[in-house]
Symmetry: C2
């Protein structure tokens, strides 16, 4: 079939939170149809429904995540509600439309309940419906295993569904959400922040990883791997959003695309650890086993105690929600290693600058450090990747830091 | 496999209306398991969820029934919610349990959305789960077509699912609901009404049809055709309910098993209709086309007008909700037939006595009429079937009538 006119449109939970919004979204889909497109629409559960279902499960089970198969059975009803109501709204507008759950359409996943990976998308029903000129509505976030078990794709999984369908159909994709696009900085912290018109997958990934979570990171990764360019735009404003594509499609290489902040981490230090090979490995092995994700890591150079033992300090950041668990694990380890103490520092923030131009431009890091120094902001930790530089600073300085960096790099 | 120990348990919406009740039901299932049974559990949507979903659909579409496929997509999520929460409750009790939607298990239906008929039940997953000693939880009310479309079985369809599963497994079935069983009379009208311990399918059908709607009539019919005996009992009381089985299993033939009343009908009369062949047919054809169900019918004998035209009157009962529509249709017909007038009488009630012993005992009807006459209750319409006699009376007399009949037949 000719896919040229097919387009994948994805609407998030806040865009379909109630009957009025669902009707609005139906109108928006219709406008694409009228422009000659054949829309394949992916939707999330309405508003907070998924959270409400989780809360209900928590009243039955202490930890619903210990019953993952049944949790997926429960969570998948949210999107099923949206697809049926949205399809009815379009039927009322005299449109030919058909809705599919993830399992009906044939979004085949592995058996990793609550966080499944898409293996393949079966195309029979999809192609048949498009051929017969139906608007196709697909429940995001969900799929089934080869033997018919219902699975979900993890938080933000509807983005993943949209990208997977776009990849299957070899077409582009529009991610409609409650923001107008990706910004050069958080507009709440820096009023002059501008919407980014175009950026690369890699930049988007680094921006998302640093806290600007407009879209599920796995979905952006899939888009990158499958080269599915997409646009992030607002459902309720009729304006171009941020277009995200391969680096080779970017006409102009910008050194720094944006600045982001992450207030959701804490700094953990284990102080006075014996300076022996394998100690750092022990520390992080103990955390990995508990599913705790470690972000930035620094290790001090060794020093000597009065008794002439060689010791050093290891610091790293973890998500705020893992702080307690991390402290407990490290306290046990501290006793075993005879280390001095474990310190959790809560009042930190991570600020990052992201830009694919960093690959070819040097001196970006020193400009960042100078800009922060001029504002009297102390840097506690630094980490760098190919296209990102992150600094941990005191939380109270985050607004000042974002402003300074936005100005320094003309964002 | 040996089915002897398998039992189908069905819990209605009021039994699983909230988390506490779901936990109670889980405990009840567990008690069957501990007695050595292998429970296959069928559940409805929690409380009023189905009604709420319909209400939401009505905010999107003027008449959701014009979008039946999408309505079924919507309505089927209620039971899916119950099965997952109930399965979690049993998992918390350390039980081996697995839930299935109707489509997952393979309840295959025709394509008659919102009121589908079960064609067959595929047994692979069911037998496999039972063999592995799982408690099986099945979403009632829903199935799928051969090509994977989600269907629902009509109001009360969970009863149908339960009976179909019991038939497939060749085992009995317990229908748990919010009443302790079927009563000889409505306890609100006759305080001395007794719970019926045992009755036949036919009696249950006639009782249900006459307004004692404890169970979906189609489910009782299926039970009768497949010879699936079942028990109707209260979820929250630990007592025997009413056992319903084939007539041949009844040890004792009771002449009158119960009395029922139906306040949900109105009497419609079209007066002064020309007495010509085919006129009655015209009247009822016009109603059937509009999906209006006619219950009792009487036609007066012909009389002559002053101009010596032969005329008569036709009266029948319809459901209260169809009264307006019926009146409109008949008014059109009245003008065409040059009949005198259309009268709707709202304040009526139908009282019926039911009992399979009527087949072999004569004189039951005259005892009924005399009992009513002794209380000064006028009978407006009469209809009889093999095991039921119904009379239409004035609504205000219904309590008096039920009491009189209950006493007359020792109910």
């Amino acid at each position: 079939m000719k896919n040229r006119k097919v387009i994948v449109l994805k609407f998030g939970g806040s865009s379909v939170a109630n009957v009025e919004k669902i009707r609005f979204v139906a109108g928006k889909i219709l406008s694409f149809k009228r422009k000659g497109f054949k829309p394949v629409v992916v939707v999330s559960a309405p508003g907070d429904m998924t959270d409400e279902l989780v809360a209900e499960a928590e009243r039955i089970a202490k930890n619903p995540l210990s019953h993952k198969r049944e949790l997926d059975m429960l969570l998948s009803i949210g999107e099923q509600k949206t697809i049926s109501l949205l399809a009815m709204a379009l039927l009322e507008m005299k449109q030919k439309v058909i809705s599919f759950t993830g399992h009906q359409l044939g979004i085949i996943t592995d058996r990793n309940f609550t966080n499944a990976r898409i293996r393949r998308v079966s195309t029979r029903k999809l192609f048949e419906a498009l051929k017969r000129n139906y608007i196709v509505i697909v429940a995001g976030f969900q799929g089934k295993t080869e033997d018919g078990e219902i699975t979900t794709l993890g938080r933000g999984g509807s983005d993943l569904t949209a990208v997977a369908l776009a990849s299957t159909l070899k077409v582009g994709c529009k991610i409609f959400t409650d923001v107008p696009g990706i910004f050069t900085a958080n507009p709440r912290l820096y009023k002059k922040a501008k919407k980014i018109d175009i950026m690369s997958f890699e930049e988007m990934l680094e921006m998302a990883g640093a806290g600007a979570g407009v879209m599920q990171a796995r979905a952006v990764e899939l888009a990158k791997n499958q080269d599915v360019s997409f646009e992030v735009a607002s459902t309720f404003a009729n304006r171009a959003g941020t277009f995200v594509c391969g680096e080779d499609e970017l006409l102009e290489e910008i050194v720094v695309r944006g600045v982001t902040e992450d207030l959701d981490q804490v700094k953990v230090s284990i102080v006075g650890v014996p300076d022996r090979p394998g100690i750092a490995a022990k520390v992080f092995e103990s955390l990995t086993g508990e599913d705790i994700c470690v972000d930035m890591i620094i290790q001090s150079s060794a020093r000597r105690t009065k008794k002439s033992r060689a010791i050093n300090d290891i610091s790293f950041t973890v998500k705020r929600q893992d702080a307690e668990k991390t402290k407990k694990i490290l306290e046990t380890l501290r006793r075993r290693l005879n280390a001095k103490e474990v310190i959790i520092k809560e009042n930190i923030a991570k600020v990052s600058i992201v830009g694919s131009g960093m690959r070819t431009h040097s001196g970006v890091a020193s400009r960042m450090f100078s800009a922060l120094a001029r504002k009297g902001i102390n840097i506690e930790m630094i980490s760098t990747s190919e296209i990102k530089i992150s600094c941990v600073i005191e939380k109270k300085n985050v607004k000042k830091a974002v402003e300074a960096l936005a100005k320094e790099f003309n964002l």
